[in-house]
């Protein structure tokens, strides 16, 4: 069984078993310092993580958005509230470049 992990300042942080992630959807994870991350996986099994807070509304809901990809193949999530799209690799809002959310490095590891 493998797990999904996020890179935090203190090191790698285990979020959940890879099987808990459905392709095209996200989950929210509570980080040790109280912050929230939105973690996603796409059709190809790549994982991404960004801050869970939607900067346009202040609500912690990005994990509940739908995943999409641009014609150039850039993966993004669309906020379920006002539908702003955020690039999952850079955190930049595709509809308003002045807004960016934090991104996290993700990885997988085996669980023994």
């Amino acid at each position: 069984m493998t797990t999904v992990q996020l890179r935090l300042e203190q090191g790698w942080f285990t979020v959940c078993a890879t099987a808990r992630l459905a392709p095209g959807r996200g989950v929210a994870a509570l980080l040790p310092d109280g912050r929230q991350a939105a973690v996603f996986t796409d059709r190809r099994g790549r994982t991404y993580a960004i801050d869970n807070r939607d900067p346009f509304t202040g609500a912690y809901v990005l994990s509940r958005g739908l995943l999409g990809s641009t014609p150039e193949g850039r993966p993004y999530v669309a906020s379920p509230l006002l539908k702003h799209r955020f690039d999952l690799e850079t955190g930049v809002c595709l509809d308003d470049e002045t807004q960016t959310v934090q991104t996290y490095l993700t990885g997988r590891s085996s669980w023994f």
Binding site: V15, C16, G24, R25, A28, F56, S69, P71
Partner: protein
Amino acid sequence: MPHEHLSTIVVVGHGMVGQRFLEALAERGAAGRTRVVVLCEEPRPAYDRVRLTSYFTGTTPDELGLVPADFMRRNAIELHIGDPAESIDRAARTVTARSGRTFPYDTLVLATGSFPFVPPVPGKDLPGCFVYRTIEDLLAVEAYAKTATTGTVVGGGLLGLEAAGALSGLGLDTHIVEFAPRLMPAQVDEGGGAALLRTIENMGLTVHTGVGTREITADDDGHVRGMTLSDSSHLSTDLVIFSAGVRPRDQLARDCGLAVGERGGIVVDAQCRTSDPAVFAIGECALAADGRVYGLVAPGYDMAETVADTIVDTGERAFTGADLSTKLKLLGVDVASFGDAHGTAEGCLDVVYSDSRSGVYKKLVVSRDGVLLGGVLVGDADAYGMLRPLTGHVPPVAPEQLVLPAGLGGPALLGPESLPDDAVICSCHNVTKGAISACSSLPEAKQRTKAGTGCGSCVKTIGTLLPRSGDGGLCGCFARTRQELYEIALALRISSFTELLDGHGRPAARGGEGCEICKPAVASILAGLGNGHILDGEQAALQDTNDHFLANLQRNGSYSVVPRIPGGEITPDKLIVIGEVARDFGLYTKITGGQRIDLFGARVEQLPAIWARLVESGFESGHAYGKSLRTVKSCVGQTWCRYGVQDSARMAIDLELRYRGLRSPHKLKSAVSGCARECAEARSKDFGVIATAGGWNLYVGGNGGASPRHADLLVQDLTDDELVRLIDRFLMFYIRTADRLERTSVWLERIEGGLAHVRDVVVDDSLGICAELEALMAAHVAGYRDEWAETLDDPERLARFVSFVNAPGAPDPSIRFVPERGQIKPELPLLTLGATR
């Protein structure tokens, strides 16, 4: 310093217009050729003052920022934060800042904005008195409001109402004191003021018009305790915000001998040059060539561009005046005024529509030869986006049609096709229809023209001007319409999104993720074709969050729950169960317009427990979250009502149970009235039924809400069976042929042949598809299962109902509530400031 060979531009003031000027310089490639120094008085770089109030709804100061991340560095601009200019020596061409530093200039640009005018009343400086202009002002108001219960805004203009809305949002009992006889005297006329007043009072604010402030009074420790008004009455209040207009900040200019206007403002010509040719003034501090000081951001932007053109390109651009259009949404009331709103032009005529009950007031000013000159809209400003660009033109329909609501003979809002190419769509950035139409997407339009990046009120109109993904396709992933995809899925028995995308998507999209537009649209098609539970397998990943959690997402990340109450009929015992569930889970409870009960404030992980209780007592999902049948509303009908001619409640229950759970391109609403008195308002529904002595009349394509439309009569005097069969066909035909998110009202207007064609197809079976339509509906009815009951029985589905995947029991700490009128309401995320970093 090796700067001698460069010319130097010094900018005083880094507000909205100052920043725009810097961008205009950068766009013209001036950055490398000139040294640019900016003196900024505030403790932070330029931010979006127009959206200042959104701070109170959770926008952080950082998010209000207007300066792209490395803008200053990239353009080598020297920004001195917190260091205002204190004097100008025009002979030596230097500016001295508070820090003592002196900056030489070749060109000086003053963009110092305005300061709020505070009337010289005794007590105006007491602790508890504020103005409303900067982020620091708002932080101070917010902090002080924690100890206050009542707040008063002096001034009922645009900004005053905005400030009052903020105070009321902070939980204060809020008063507005306005000297003029009506609110927003500068924007709206008497009729508009009256409509505005009624609506604002209905929201619980107290308005005092026609009185001034005589004195602010203090309590024993010297804090604000109340105010005495000009009619000698007394108003007790803990906090006062002065919003009595603004005055140009022209002191620097005065001190160095530049010409200023009699009533303030730095005098400039059409190039925004002051009386000293090396000095320019732009934005709210300038007295423009037409003799006005503009208190709006759009004219300031125009001035910024003019100066950039003048000094960089020695261009021809000039600023000679601007439109004072404004649209704003205050406290949930739409208000707009544009053009010659007060009808000052000679011989002009007014066209007025006023409905005092709903607080709607609309006035258009037209010239004798039919040219639209301006107008005022209160309570319903939807038409603003269309009307403002039409100003100066003869509208394509009679002006009365432009103000009447759609149901009363008005047009279903004028399409943007009817606008001329040079019509200005975005007045913040002065962008025409022609320029927007040349773009292919909203992000592109925003980037290339800046349209839509100011107040945002034009975004809806921009959307309608852009090609629908270029070629009529559903979205960037599919070049086909929803109807075509439906036919493909039906004919080829396609049951998964990836199969449809990889086989029938645009070449570049194949193998990709799809997008937030096509995923739910395809999910609805597949569900309409009877492809199992919507939380199963791949389908689960296509649903938007409401369908995913079988509940409605609300603004703070919590969900609302709506159990089905067929026909609005409910036993006392079941009513008690709803009350008990709401009480036990602490949910905000509200009766809906569709005769149901909506329970708000549930966290994701509470949903299964809430539904376990409801399902146990015989409730099932109300599908309020889905694009599907909402309710069939009814009156009591013949059984109780002395006028009734049929049993409308029974018919409503039968119809609701038949079509519950049906997925469609958009939500579906219905109603059944027991006689022609129409108490259930069936003609405002997608399909409405009205009893007659001989049976039932079926109406279709009605709509309430923002663009109301009366339903059209499809067939009269139907028996029960005939009625149901026709509705089966009608709904399936709609589901099959409508566009994504197209209500029946819009669909009926769009499809070729309109109502007559629909009647041919579903009544006379002109396409020979009625048997198939009926079979599809029969399959839906037979296959219906309650989504919530099924979910509760399935541990795998239940597993997703957690706030945090790594802490299943933990509630989301960002979802908090505060009490209001004996229930809860979301706590605005004021305390989340900076929490992202």
